[in-house]
């Protein structure tokens, strides 16, 4: 079968001369397309979408814009440029040359890490598959699809690693990535957050703000890996992840802006009368998605995290830039331990606290984002401030899952929790209201009433550009 791989699958991994990879992709690529057509935004398979495609990793190549039907999108395989002198940045092997092949003793652990990361990529496409029907504008619809195709590409990137470095097992894992389905009762996605449906656009913006930022931090940690192909793959993925967070952050900001507009136009009225989303309600969505995204970092004290760090497989974010001691062997880390009755401070070996280290960086990043939204509120003279909930709030994984905590992190009784839950998290009524606002606006230049238009368009195009030709 003669396929022009570099035409069909843009890449910088020399696919056209890699027989093993070609053979693996011959099987997997049609299954992937089938998966996309079935569980991607399938009702828009025929639409021409103004998408950015990466055709190479250089400045000109990584962002080529043009209208394309999504099933024809050229999902490519790109690794950041190789640094020939790179050494393993952390752990017990720190300073040794990085691995270009998988070390046998770490093969299983690496495969597990890659599969877990990879599983989130198609999951989010599945979670968001119906949102196109209620897009508030063509601009937003296009952003949704851009996010979707890039998550698809991230899957490709991970599958490339499985195919190239993990033999038959890797190929089987790659197939199973297309078999699990978000929310499927029989074979769900691996992580809980990726089985929660994303049914409204406020959730989508929260997801891209908080859950995709988890993705960013996981990628940052894997980008430090001593397994060089993984590190290089993740570094390139990070450039795309940044766009997803941009979509989320600006999305929430535009919802807030619109609410402020309505508040100013109709002072003293409930903004719901005019089809905007109350700020308190936005806060509840933020609470839900930020807490569920915090779960993705795993347990506070973790043997696995310690092992991954020691073995040089998964580091800290910005390991090389930010830290001096890359062994992290003799340091302790203070953790708030929930005893079931109160919080006590406990010192644990730093390596066992690596999940918490990464989560803490992630929280800081989120806080900065929330401040951007608060600037918008401040400039408009509104007193309300958004809050990033405490890491203990509403957790399902880790030691705080065994207690109840308010959004400020204070322990509360089960009674208090139940009495206040409706103030902190979306109620069915809230969900019904937000859902009622979700109506499609498919005309260029038009936008739904619950969200403000963006300050500028994509790739220098105006807002009324026909981003999606339906």
């Amino acid at each position: 079968m003669a396929i022009n791989y570099s035409e069909k699958i843009p890449n910088n991994v020399d696919l056209s001369s890699d027989k093993r990879l070609q053979r693996a992709l011959e099987r997997w690529q049609p299954a992937y397309i089938q998966w996309w057509k079935e569980t991607g935004p399938s009702d828009f398979n025929d639409a021409d979408v103004y998408l950015r495609t990466a055709v190479s990793v250089d400045r000109e190549g990584w962002a080529q814009f043009g209208h394309v039907k999504m099933p024809d999108y050229r999902w490519g395989i790109f690794l950041a440029e190789r640094d020939k002198d790179r050494t393993i940045p952390f752990g017990d092997h720190a300073g040794e040359p990085v691995w270009q092949e998988v070390p046998g003793e770490y093969r299983n652990a690496l495969r597990r890490l890659i599969v877990t990361q990879a599983d989130t990529e198609p999951a989010s496409v599945e979670q968001q598959r119906l949102l196109g029907h209620t897009a508030p504008s063509l601009y937003d619809m296009r952003n949704l699809f851009q996010v979707n195709v890039e998550e698809g590409r991230h899957l490709w990137a991970m599958v490339y690693l499985l195919h190239s470095y993990f033999g038959k097992d890797g190929r089987e894992e790659a197939e199973e990535l297309l078999e699990r389905r978000s929310g499927n009762p029989d074979h769900p996605r691996i992580l809980t957050t990726f089985n929660e449906p994303v049914e409204d656009w406020l959730s989508f913006f929260c997801f891209t703000t908080f859950t995709d930022r988890d993705g960013k931090y996981q990628l940052l940690a894997l980008a430090e890996s001593g397994f060089d192909p993984l590190a290089r793959t993740c570094r390139f993925m990070l450039t795309e992840e940044a766009h997803h967070m941009f979509v989320g952050q600006t999305g929430i900001n535009r919802v807030i802006k619109r609410t402020i507009e309505v508040m100013n136009e109709h002072p003293g009225h409930d903004v719901r009368e005019y089809g905007a989303i109350p700020l308190e309600m936005i806060q509840k969505w933020v609470n839900r998605w930020s807490s569920s995204s915090l779960d993705l970092f795993g347990a506070e004290i973790s043997s696995n995290a310690s092992t991954f760090f020691a073995e040089g497989l998964k580091g800290r974010a910005y390991e090389e830039k930010k830290y001096e001691d890359h062994k992290a062997l003799d340091e302790a880390y203070e953790i708030d331990v929930w005893t079931g009755e109160r919080i006590t401070k406990e010192e644990v070996p730093l390596r066992n606290a690596m999940n918490e280290v990464l989560r803490t960086d992630y929280i800081e990043d989120n806080r900065r984002q929330v401040e951007v939204w608060n600037k918008t509120l401040e400039r408009a003279g509104v007193d309300f401030r958004m809050e990033y909930p405490h890491r203990r709030f509403n957790r399902k994984i880790g030691m705080y899952a065994n207690g109840h905590f308010d959004p400020q992190g204070n322990p509360v009784s089960a009674e208090e929790w139940n009495a206040n839950k409706a103030l902190w998290l979306p109620t069915p009524e809230d969900e019904a209201y937000v859902k009622s606002l979700m109506v499609k606006v498919h005309e260029p230049g038009k936008i739904a009433g619950w969200i403000a238009p963006p300050s500028k368009g994509i790739n220098g195009q105006p807002f009324d550009f026909e981003y999606v030709k339906l």
Partner: protein
């Protein structure tokens, strides 16, 4: 943050209580519904037997297994009508993660060994109930199933694994911890499930385990069930397994009440058994008394009506409790003197009933239970001397205590009347782990001698006993005390490690079975590994697991 190496301590551990009741379970729940029962494991993380570890992900310690042991026991005696028992995990997508690593790491060697032994015995009892009491055990693996969790599943008759494209069964011990799946795992893999050895090799070195389809193909599990139909499928398998068992609806169970011995100083006094410790001499005495006033029940139903007050049954429950206390709580005791007291006719009357009424479920269960306790005795890592002294009653079932001992000392004096006796039960009711009776094992090279012994239809004196090969030494009353003293003092002076090894080798002559392989091969290797620097040294794999340090192995093979 190094782990201090765990030294054998000269102070005694906090004693473990082996008695419990479903009302007091903290980790298991036992629900019985007609002829079906369900055992659900939802381990309370903070409720470990000792401080210093958290029982995450349904991992277990001895306290968890004491409950399982109790539940199996109660199923057999209190719920004999049950035909199928489903064992499942009560946590979300988590079956059981096996023995708790932090617990193992913080335990001294002797405790690890005895913990493994007890959990192994518990799993063997699942198989025993299946083989002899019309129970079938279904392992409903609803999620993560690692190490000891999969070993528990292996002890069941059938394993159903949830097929959610991510749950696995696994043996991470070797790749992750540098030890073995020592709770029967490796043995049952190839001997019971007959998994091909190369596949078993791959499985046992793949820490993350094997998922649904491949697990089924390799014979690691018997069936897969999708998440949404899991309960439905479990029900279907329950019905299938039930069909393999007889209807037992006419059986009504008895109540097992607590033994509640009285303890004072170095004496633990039960109703029919007294355990006396002499820590200075490193010996203990287990005295079993056949009650003088015991009227023998007329038939099986009358025995059932006596229930847990039937002396022979109760005596063996008490022996079991005493043995477990000796093993776990008294590492300082090296030699156990087994003694009996009472009228040998009382014992033989009980034996006669147990023989003639063996088709009655309760009598059958009691015989079976005695077999299990005797097996525990065989496996107890202490020297055992039977003392056949004045007033003793080593006959029939109680003769098995002597036959289980490493040596039998009998007083042989014309002025002292001592009798021993056999009953038909010595001919097959109480097989050892090797599948043979204790008499067969004793006379492995002279099978005729077994026949001769069994041919003794009435109690016999010690001359005859000597002639039959039942005594190790039979001094007269002048030499008796001194001979015993010297033998005891000599015994406790030897290296306890060498004695444990020697006894374990001498006790189990004859053929290999799954059980002898588990207790003689698998756990012996495990106990060796548990002492090696590659597992428990400062940088051994078991020591390093969960700490910031990676193991540093010595790659020399021995």
């Amino acid at each position: 943050m190094e782990n201090p190496p765990v030294a054998e301590s000269s102070t005694l551990p906090e004693p473990v209580n082996f008695e419990t009741h479903p009302d007091q379970y903290r980790h298991w729940s036992l629900e019985v519904e007609g002829d079906r029962a369900r055992l659900t494991l939802a381990v309370q993380e903070e409720a470990g037997l000792r401080p210093g570890y958290v029982l995450k992900l349904n991992s277990y310690d001895l306290g968890v297994d004491v409950e399982l042991n109790d539940a199996i026991r109660r199923l057999r005696f209190e719920h004999p009508q049950v035909r199928v028992v489903t064992i499942t995990g009560g946590l979300d997508r988590c079956f059981c993660a096996g023995a708790n690593i932090m617990m193992l790491r913080s335990s001294p060697h002797g405790f690890k060994v005895n913990f493994c032994k007890f959990t192994n015995e518990t799993r063997c009892q699942l198989e025993d109930a299946s083989a002899h009491s019309g129970f079938r055990f279904l392992s409903a693996v609803n999620g993560a199933c690692a190490g000891g969790g999969y070993e528990l599943a292996l002890a069941c008759d059938r394993i159903v694994l949830v097929d959610d494209r991510s749950s696995t069964v696994s043996f991470p011990e070797t790749p992750l911890l540098g030890v073995l799946p020592g709770t029967g795992g490796l043995t049952r893999l190839v001997d019971k499930r007959k998994v091909r050895r190369d596949l078993a090799d791959v499985f046992s070195t793949t820490a993350e385990g094997i998922k649904g389809k491949r697990a089924l193909r390799w014979g690691l599990v018997d069936a897969l069930a999708p998440l949404s139909k899991f309960e439905e499928e479990v029900r279907r398998h329950e019905e299938e397994l039930k069909a393999e068992t007889p209807d037992k609806s006419d059986r009504s169970g008895i109540v097992l009440s607590a033994l509640e011995p009285t303890e004072s100083g170095d004496t633990v006094r039960y109703r029919h058994v007294t355990l006396t410790l002499d820590p200075e001499a490193r010996t203990a005495r287990v005295l079993v008394e056949a009650p003088a006033d015991a009227a023998c029940p007329a038939d099986g139903e009358a025995a059932r009506a006596l229930g847990d007050t039937w002396w022979i049954f109760r005596a063996f429950r008490e022996i079991e409790d005493a043995l477990l206390r000796l093993r776990i709580n008294r590492p300082d005791i090296g030699l156990v003197l087994l003694e009996t007291k009472g009228d040998i006719a009382t014992v033989l009357a009980a034996d006669q009933l147990m023989e003639s009424q063996q088709s009655h479920w309760f009598v059958h269960e009691v015989r079976n239970f005695i077999k299990i306790v005797l097996k525990r005795l065989d496996l107890t890592a202490k020297s055992l001397f039977a003392i056949v002294g004045e007033g003793s009653c080593f006959g029939g079932t109680l003769l098995e205590l002597a036959l289980a001992a490493d040596r039998i000392y009998a007083i042989n004096d014309p002025d002292v009347e001592v009798r021993m006796a056999v009953s038909s039960l010595n001919g097959g009711a109480y097989p050892m782990a090797n599948g043979l009776t204790r008499l067969q094992t004793r006379f492995l090279g002279t099978p005729d001698q077994t026949k001769r012994v069994l041919g003794e239809s009435s109690p016999f004196d010690i001359d005859t006993a000597e002639d039959l090969g039942l005594t190790t030494s039979a001094p007269d009353s002048i030499d008796w005390e001194d001979e015993l003293r010297v033998a005891i003092e000599e015994r406790v002076s030897f290296s306890p490690d060498a004695l444990t090894g020697m006894e374990a080798n001498l006790r189990f002559a004859g053929p290999e079975t799954l059980e002898t392989k588990i207790f003689g091969r698998l756990t012996a290797w495990q106990n060796w590994i548990f002492q090696r620097p590659n597992a428990v040294g400062k940088r051994g794999a078991l020591s390093c697991y969960g700490t910031p340090n990676r193991p540093e192995l010595d790659y020399q093979r021995t």
